[in-house]
């Protein structure tokens, strides 16, 4: 469905070349939930920007549904780490931003997003300003803004990274639940190993820069999953395995965050 082939990217910091990505390959199937974990600064957001078509790679290609979309923004919807909801737009108007950019009339767009508000558990917040929402609610609104774009692939860049751990757990349960109902095709960047195991069908582990795919681990836990699954031995085994894979480079990346 989504194929990322041999992507490489070199940045120039004050004229000094910095190889961020080297021959990254990645594949995501229809309605699959894939996570990417890797040390901070290894180029995950860079990879996302390339997949989203807003950053040209120095080599390689991005294919979605058999179509070359390298450098094109039509295939993926991006959810950034910070919610980036605009303080001057009411929550509902924030969620329709992409629709308005695509040329849809405001009224029509509002009608289109309306039913999602109850699905996303934020019904009643439509006419509030983002500053009136809690961090967790803001992330829900931010995901809604991403989902309503109707793009084939959702790219979630550490969506829960800035939340406190209680809210994060709550939103992980919520995302699991809503994904199992809606079955979007998702790539999630995270540095939370438990989150990766809990939500994903497969997990890509990246190396420090120049970043490559170090390992791909299939999480063959049954679906639908519930929060209880985190207490099973299989789950803990997967966690340990990922921790091990992740630790391999973390020891070589000491203090580099």
């Amino acid at each position: 469905m989504l194929e990322v082939k041999q992507i490489s990217k070199v940045f120039h910091k004050n004229g000094v070349p910095f190889e961020a990505l080297r021959d990254v390959n990645l594949e995501v199937h229809e309605r699959e939930f894939v996570s990417i974990i890797g040390p901070s600064g290894c180029g995950k957001s860079t990879l996302f920007n390339i997949i989203a078509g807003i950053l040209p790679p120095d080599g390689g290609s991005v294919m979605v549904q058999g179509k070359d979309v390298t450098g094109k923004t039509e295939a993926c919807a991006l959810m950034p780490q910070k919610d980036l909801l605009f303080p001057w737009r009411k929550v509902a108007d924030n969620t329709i931003l992409a629709l308005q950019i695509a040329g849809m009339k405001k009224k029509e767009a509002r009608e289109k997003v309306e039913p999602y508000f109850s699905i996303f558990g934020i019904d009643g917040t439509q006419e509030l300003y983002p500053a009136q929402l809690s961090g967790g609610m803001r992330q829900r609104a931010s995901l809604l803004r991403t989902v309503v774009q109707d793009r084939p692939v959702l790219l979630l860049d550490e969506p829960f990274g800035a939340l406190d751990s209680m809210t994060r757990t709550e939103l992980q349960d919520w995302l699991l639940d809503i994904w199992q109902k809606q079955k979007w095709t998702v790539i999630l960047v995270t540095h939370d190993i438990k989150e990766a195991v809990y939500l994903s069908d497969r997990v890509y582990v990246m190396t420090p820069s120049p970043s490559r795919v170090q390992e791909v681990i299939s999480i063959d836990l049954p679906r639908p999953r519930t929060p209880e699954i985190t207490m099973t031995t299989e789950f803990v085994k997967y966690e340990a395995r990922l921790k091990h894979a992740f630790g391999k480079k973390e020891s070589s990346e000491e203090g580099n965050t």
Binding site: T73, F86, L97, G121, L128, A131, Q132, S134
Partner: protein, 282 residues
């Protein structure tokens, strides 16, 4: 999903707090304003007492009661001179906003233009108005036009900088997000950079207001047919200190009223600013 309900409830409580603090805003304005009013009254009282006790000549320092009496007696004259000053101030401000918006937007879209324009802007600020104003009279005479130019020159910088800063307050992540949605440069400007610049714009406007009144007065002072600036000069030459002080009071009042108008406009144009502030406090 049972968690959602509680968080919705807690969020609606938040919004209640916000609307409560909005109402409190009016009360607070009164509470903040009261000391200012009392302070000014206090100054007037001291002034009155001092004049009565020392019997200082009316040419040097007339009592405030006399100043206000003369304001009333000469109200037609004051009114006649106030109108052109107001006109200059408002037209000058309007012209400044137009020019500043045009140039800032141009600089925002065309970085090369920015590189040329910015140094000129900075240099223009080093030229004192005192030098400019007489020149304007030499070049353009005693009419409205030279005053407008002085006002634009004085206030342009604060508004242009406020706008530029406002446009630039957009984070690179936001630009990435918009681009991923397929937004054109113009859409990025319209949906983000423009609304993001409003708070900063109003801050700049608030500064520009006081300066534009001062610049109008100064422009008149150097040469005009009518206006509070030239009126003050005539009164000064006649040793009518009471009328000079009356003009000062009118000018302050005008500045204050314009200040208030900007505050109201700010509320109208960016109702979300109060909400965002209340949210940030939590």
């Amino acid at each position: 999903m049972k968690n959602n309900k509680t968080s919705v409830r807690c969020d609606s409580v938040r919004s209640l707090n916000v609307s409560a603090s909005k109402k409190g805003g009016l009360q607070q304005a009164v509470r903040n304003g009261a000391p200012a009013v009392l302070g000014i009254l206090f100054v007037f009282v001291i002034w009155e007492v001092a004049v009565n006790v020392t019997h200082v000549s009316v040419d040097v320092l007339p009592s405030p009661t006399r100043v206000f009496r003369m304001l009333l007696v000469n109200r037609d004259k004051f009114w006649m001179h106030l109108i052109p000053t107001l006109q200059e101030t408002l037209i000058g401000l309007g012209a400044t906003i137009l020019v500043a918006v045009f140039i800032s937007v141009l600089c925002d879209f065309l970085p090369t233009v920015r590189k040329f324009v910015y140094p000129i802007l900075v240099v223009s600020q080093t030229v004192p108005v005192i030098v400019i104003a007489p020149l304007m009279v030499i070049w353009f005479g005693y009419g409205l036009f030279p005053k407008i130019i002085v006002i634009v020159l004085v206030t342009f910088f604060s508004i242009a900088v406020a706008l530029t800063d406002g446009f630039d307050s957009t984070e690179p992540e936001t630009v990435n997000l918009l681009r991923s949605m397929g937004a054109t440069k113009w859409q990025q400007f319209y949906y983000v950079r423009l609304p993001a610049s409003l708070p900063s714009f109003f801050t700049g406007l608030r500064i520009a207001i006081t300066w534009s009144v001062t610049a109008a007065i100064f422009g008149e002072y150097v040469g005009a047919e009518r206006g509070l600036g030239i009126f003050m000069q005539i009164c000064k030459n006649d040793f009518r200190t009471d009328l000079v002080l009356g003009s000062v009071i009118i000018i302050s009042a005008v500045s204050l009223i314009l200040f208030g108008v900007v505050a109201i406009l700010r509320r109208l144009f960016i109702p979300w600013a109060a909400v965002a502030k209340a949210g940030a406090k939590k």
